[in-house]
Symmetry: C2
Amino acid sequence: MEKPSRNVYLKMKTLEEAAALWMGADPERRCAVETVPTTHALHRTTAGPVIADRSVPHYHGSAMDGIAVRARDTFGAGDTTPIRLQVGKTAFPVDTGDPLPSDTDAVIMIEHVDQVDESTMEIRAAAFPWQHVRKVGEDIVAGELLLPEHHRIRPPDVGALLAAGVLSVSCYARPKVWIQPTGTELIPASRAGEAAPGEIVEFNGTVLSGMVEECGGVAELREIIADDYAGIREGLARAVDSEADLVLINAGSSAGSEDFTAAVVAELGEVLVHGVTMMPGKPTILGIVRGKPVVGVPGFPVSAILAFEQFVRPLLYRLQGLPCPSYDEVDAEIARKTPSKLGLEEFVRVILGRVQGKLIAMPLQRGAGVITSLTRADGILRVPQELEGLDQGEIVRVRLLRPKEQLDHTMIMIGSHDNTIDVLANEIKRRDGRMQLSSGNVGSLGGLMAVRRAQTHLAGSHLLDPATGGYNHSYVERYLQGVPIRLVTLAVRQQGLLVRRGNPAGVRGVRDLARPDVAFINRQGGSGTRILFDYCLRKEELAPEEIRGYDQEEFTHMAIAVTVLSGRADAGMAIFAAARALGLDFIPVAEERYDLVIPESFWEDPKMGLLMEIITSGRFRKMVSELGGYDVSMSGTLAGQWDGKKWLSGK
Amino acid sequence: MEKPSRNVYLKMKTLEEAAALWMGADPERRCAVETVPTTHALHRTTAGPVIADRSVPHYHGSAMDGIAVRARDTFGAGDTTPIRLQVGKTAFPVDTGDPLPSDTDAVIMIEHVDQVDESTMEIRAAAFPWQHVRKVGEDIVAGELLLPEHHRIRPPDVGALLAAGVLSVSCYARPKVWIQPTGTELIPASRAGEAAPGEIVEFNGTVLSGMVEECGGVAELREIIADDYAGIREGLARAVDSEADLVLINAGSSAGSEDFTAAVVAELGEVLVHGVTMMPGKPTILGIVRGKPVVGVPGFPVSAILAFEQFVRPLLYRLQGLPCPSYDEVDAEIARKTPSKLGLEEFVRVILGRVQGKLIAMPLQRGAGVITSLTRADGILRVPQELEGLDQGEIVRVRLLRPKEQLDHTMIMIGSHDNTIDVLANEIKRRDGRMQLSSGNVGSLGGLMAVRRAQTHLAGSHLLDPATGGYNHSYVERYLQGVPIRLVTLAVRQQGLLVRRGNPAGVRGVRDLARPDVAFINRQGGSGTRILFDYCLRKEELAPEEIRGYDQEEFTHMAIAVTVLSGRADAGMAIFAAARALGLDFIPVAEERYDLVIPESFWEDPKMGLLMEIITSGRFRKMVSELGGYDVSMSGTLAGQWDGKKWLSGK
């Protein structure tokens, strides 16, 4: 077969259709059955009923330290009518676990026995038959069912098996999963440090391996294969001829000119599904080659993980004869209008926290390539494909990515992102492992809105009032009428001009940007940094027209840094962290006060107490100082107390 | 120090006191910190903040297959105003992941591009800046926090670390746990088949090892040490001087004459707690020896497991810097009055199921030595130490031992136990892995009571009416007035006389029991088997006085079998399974009909449909026949339909 040129999705399937085709293809598919020593059978699944080989106990044994007796010899004993027993004749000292001497049928606890002399014991209460005796088969009778078929073996089960003399168990083998990374652009993780532009570190394979392991499987992560039709065909042929129960090819599952997976699966076997109406995860391929299930896993990491969860996870459990465990879910109120494409089931990552009694879900970034949208998330919600999105305030079902109990220990912080938030998040977790700070980056104004709508425990804001040069107060007055809050300064951060290392253009400050030989790169209108830059220009009495590149806009601190690094501009305004990330020089030009906006309703919460304790600690200040680009002398001080109508302090 | 004689609990502590002493002893105790390759860091816990080494993406890359362009070159393009671009000048073909050629800032999807000729592309829509571009740092900015301290690493986290060039992570070592079985009576599991009376198979060590593993630790299970003071002292000294983070000694933790653990811990270190007011689990020892935590784990398996959960599990999580995960819990109605000792917190194992909308908890056997009380249980409830028990119908909090979703797929069956129930349970699990039959053995009459109180989905009953020789009907009439049910025959089982192999006494039937040379062993008055035996005697026109041993009583089928095996009697009446378990001969003398009692309210439930399908299947009949001692010709037939007042059929 010739190398195919650009192919297209044959016919997209809905999630339900795809799952039905995939899981319906061979409902009885199981891994091979193997015999496993019981001592190594933990978490394996029984492939047949397990029957007790011996009874437990296998003899009548004493359940106490004391004396074994015939119960009838003790009848009539009482406080006023003690009975004496002869050691070796009517009383036999036993320890717990000792076999009962023949013809005895009860044990009297040692605490209830008086030793009269070496050979005489006295008792003052009768024993009833079989008292304190563990009888044969009391726990397990030989021949009885210990574990049913399709049972996942837990620690106590192992105990029952060993006790009943079952030294090996017939179990399903752990599913073997062949994971084949493909892609000419990929380099192994070990070379991550040297990745050149266009080279991408292969990490999906390790992520998928971990997920396979969590489902009880054994992952075999293979070496990267380049995007080459013949090579991928050969790789797939080898995979399906191996002992693997399941083959994952990552990626080449899309419809690009170098996406060969679908064609290779079609050539060697059958494509059941190419393209699923889910997002992320659309370019998923499901097929059967030489009787083995094959999944073309999409390349973007979030897509890969979601496709795994939808199609690989259920199959791995089925191969072991287990029902696929459901995920923990909760109902939450979505904090933002969340548009979504009609006809695509969208998986939106959210942070979750309980604010004023309501569980709030705040959507994070939605790109399929943004792995941190998963690592930072507390949950995932689904926008059904028949909807064009969800309205703010709708109650939605959210699948949890963290333990349920975490919800009550999560602080939500919405607003402008800043690296000091990372330090704060880390210190919170360090001080109290149950606690967590989940932060969402929606900009300073978005944070104030979230406070107003009681959707966050606190917000982070650095809004400059160009009229006064002050921070945050005028915005609180405008947007938080009726909402009492406190402003607590987290840190004062420097904004500055980023220039290439060594400052080849010799830029010393904003004035120099007016030089004709200096090309500037600007931030987009409306951004806090743009407002600050305009404020700096006015202070320097410079007009925008005097700055070459004022009309060239970028959207993030990092984009400014990249533009400067690439030489397309000589200078741009951004925070120190962006300069540091790309090794640029940084010329401080202004300071921004970054305040926490804390609703009065949250002020007395113990979580807030911990937060304040951290912010005012020397350790926190030291760590923030070490980031560079911050002044921490004001950290933890009250910048203002607002009762909803007027400032009680701080202005 | 001399070998101490019998010691006593110094002073029992409550669970709360013990936990406070134990966990309060060294709140900052952690495992050593070690550097772990990221590819092997799954499920490890970070010992410090993890910072991104590189930005992700580390270059501006295309997010689509298509052409890279300068957005400003495309402005004005529309359906009626197409714009032509020159390949290599204003249009650059790119695949997903390719770096953007310098000076381009947008990508147009290939689907939206018309190729006019080899070097000319036409577009009919403008591109906006940065469309379909993955910008540097869009996901991760070098220097930002990837994972906080005390974070348990999940698969997507591994992806984020590798992507950001973090190839190794500083993590807490997995806690090493030295598990020391002690006991002269113990033999290793490998010799389970040859255990003599008084020998007990060591399996707690393997159970504890599995539990350690589930908490993220590494178990080192040591060889058995005999009950010898010097030997145990030497063993403990070696354990605390090893690299272990925690030492478990099992057992010798009680107050018997050969229980040395407390004395050894006291000699080498400090005993914090000896004896906890919990049951099972009372003889727990908590101590510190040469700075290392040491737990004297009780010997009975259920005690060992509960003591582990209370004291070892939280410490293992703390050693890794993690909060101890809470167990899933539900509220349920307790089906039986459950007395409990004042002053002891009792852990009662229960089966759980949703009957007529209510979640019902049915207590199982309570012995600390009965491991199957854990393996058969669905949950554990606690009777607080300040209560003398729980009343039937009380709502109690129950910790789940199975996934929560299992609750809706569990059938509860209460009543007389029979081995065919095992077959049924196995077939249910085999046919539908989500389903489960949880059975509680409370005798036939107890089963009817549970049906009357709507505490069970169905009951199992084999109640003989001696007046008629019929089964179950008259009892339904007496106890289920107003409760419509159906009786479905599960199987007809044989009761017979158990005799030693080869039948040395030559017993051929009940008549022979009247021979003066034959010693009989009877079941206790009131038991179904006793009623049946008396019925047999009457049929044979024999008087009890004619049977030697009629007044000697045992309480279970197995006890009858043991009495016969030991030679203390020549014959006794029991079911075939008891004979088979101990290798006795079996002389059938009577047949009992074992019926399922199915409330009409459950009859239409799909779970019931599955049950009936199984009972009427050839496979089920074959398996039951193979057990021996059963007649399956009536299995699955309706023995009666009762509308609460009269029989609609079957009588």
